[in-house]
């Protein structure tokens, strides 16, 4: 595993919080990056299978 899934989640969380949306263009960019069909959150769901059973519970809560 290149990077721990929990770290990736924290990273994306920070990115969302710090993302500056000031115009219609940046809003659209935000939408594509985090909510679009190829958003960066989606691949994390695929990684869920690799997470150890006892950590899976915590993962869902994040």
């Amino acid at each position: 595993m290149a990077q721990d899934i929990f770290e990736q989640i924290d990273q994306i969380k920070d990115e969302i919080n710090q993302y500056a949306v000031g115009s219609a263009e940046s809003l659209e960019a935000f939408r594509i990056r985090f909510l679009g069909t190829k958003n960066i959150i989606k691949p994390l769901f695929a990684l869920m299978g690799q997470v150890e059973a006892e950590r899976k519970k915590n993962l869902g809560k994040l």
């Binding site: 909510l35 958003n39 959150i41 994390l44």
Partner: protein
């Protein structure tokens, strides 16, 4: 991870409205300040208010004062002081709305109650008119309603005679219906006046609707009137040997119906804007 998605969605929605607001205020600089403003919606006066004002002004010009009073009364003011016998049918619950928690009080069934209050409070000369809402337990139809408006007049002084009453009513008819107005007085009966009369105004019989309004006689019944019964004066502490006076009263809705050709009394209370808007140019 779902929380992450929700966080992104919330931020997106918030930013979207912020961006929309920003665009709106950015566009504000483009407003043409010389353009005419949006038209302001003006209300209109209710036909009943218009007629009350018209009648009040007619009497104010000859020295009458407008007096208003409460709508919940006790039996003394609504009936007893007005010389209404204990067994009079108007006192029945089928005719008058009594308060459920206190059967000695009721919604007034006539504005004559104001006369009693005024005569109790001051000595003659008294010259008042009192417009107001009254309530009667009647079936609601095109011609009658359980609530309506009356305007009542009272004049008490030394040496007031029936001739004064007649002249006052003639003056009112001319002001209300035109300089050519003719009136007639028919004998009638009210508990609080003696003698009593009904005043009719000549309306004419030119059209079919004139026939319907005047029941084929050409005369339109406008109000009840009479010389105040000495017993009523005594009830209010006014010396009936020294003072005399007259009283008159009429229904407002009926006057407005004739004035504006309204054929259903229920329109007054339905708050239908299509009806009310028609009076925006009056007065």
């Amino acid at each position: 991870m779902n929380a992450l998605k929700v966080l992104a969605e919330e931020k997106f929605d918030l930013s979207k409205s912020n961006v929309a607001d920003g665009e709106k205020s950015a566009g504000a600089g483009d407003i043409d300040l010389t353009a005419p403003a949006e038209p302001f919606q003006l209300g209109s006066r209710h036909p009943v208010s218009i007629v009350i004002q018209k009648i009040s002004q007619i009497f104010e010009r000859i020295g009458y004062t407008v007096v208003e009073d409460k709508e919940i009364e006790n039996e003394w003011y609504n009936f007893t002081a007005l010389n209404t016998p204990e067994d009079h049918p108007a006192r029945d619950m089928t005719d008058t709305y009594y308060l459920a928690r206190d059967l000695t009080h009721m919604l007034r069934s006539q504005t004559s109650t104001v006369q009693i209050h005024t005569m109790e409070q001051k000595q003659p000369p008294i010259r008042i008119i009192s417009p107001g809402r009254v309530y009667r337990n009647e079936t609601i139809s095109a011609r009658s309603h359980c609530q309506f408006h009356q305007i009542e007049g009272l004049y008490i002084d030394e040496g007031v005679s029936f001739a004064d009453l007649k002249q006052t009513l003639l003056y009112f008819a001319k002001e209300m219906f035109g300089e050519d107005a003719r009136i007639r007085l028919r004998p009638s009966f009210f508990p609080f006046t003696e003698p009593s009369a009904e005043m009719d105004v000549y309306w004419g019989l030119k059209t079919e609707s004139d026939h319907r309004i005047t029941k084929g006689t050409g005369w339109l019944e406008v109000m009840g009137c009479g010389m105040v019964d000495p017993a009523v004066l005594d009830n209010c502490g006014i010396d009936s040997n020294k003072y005399s006076g007259f009283a008159f009263g009429m229904g407002i809705e009926r006057q407005a119906m004739h004035l504006y050709k309204i054929n259903d009394i229920r329109y007054y209370f339905e708050n239908d804007l299509r009806f009310l808007k028609q009076f925006s140019s009056s007065f």
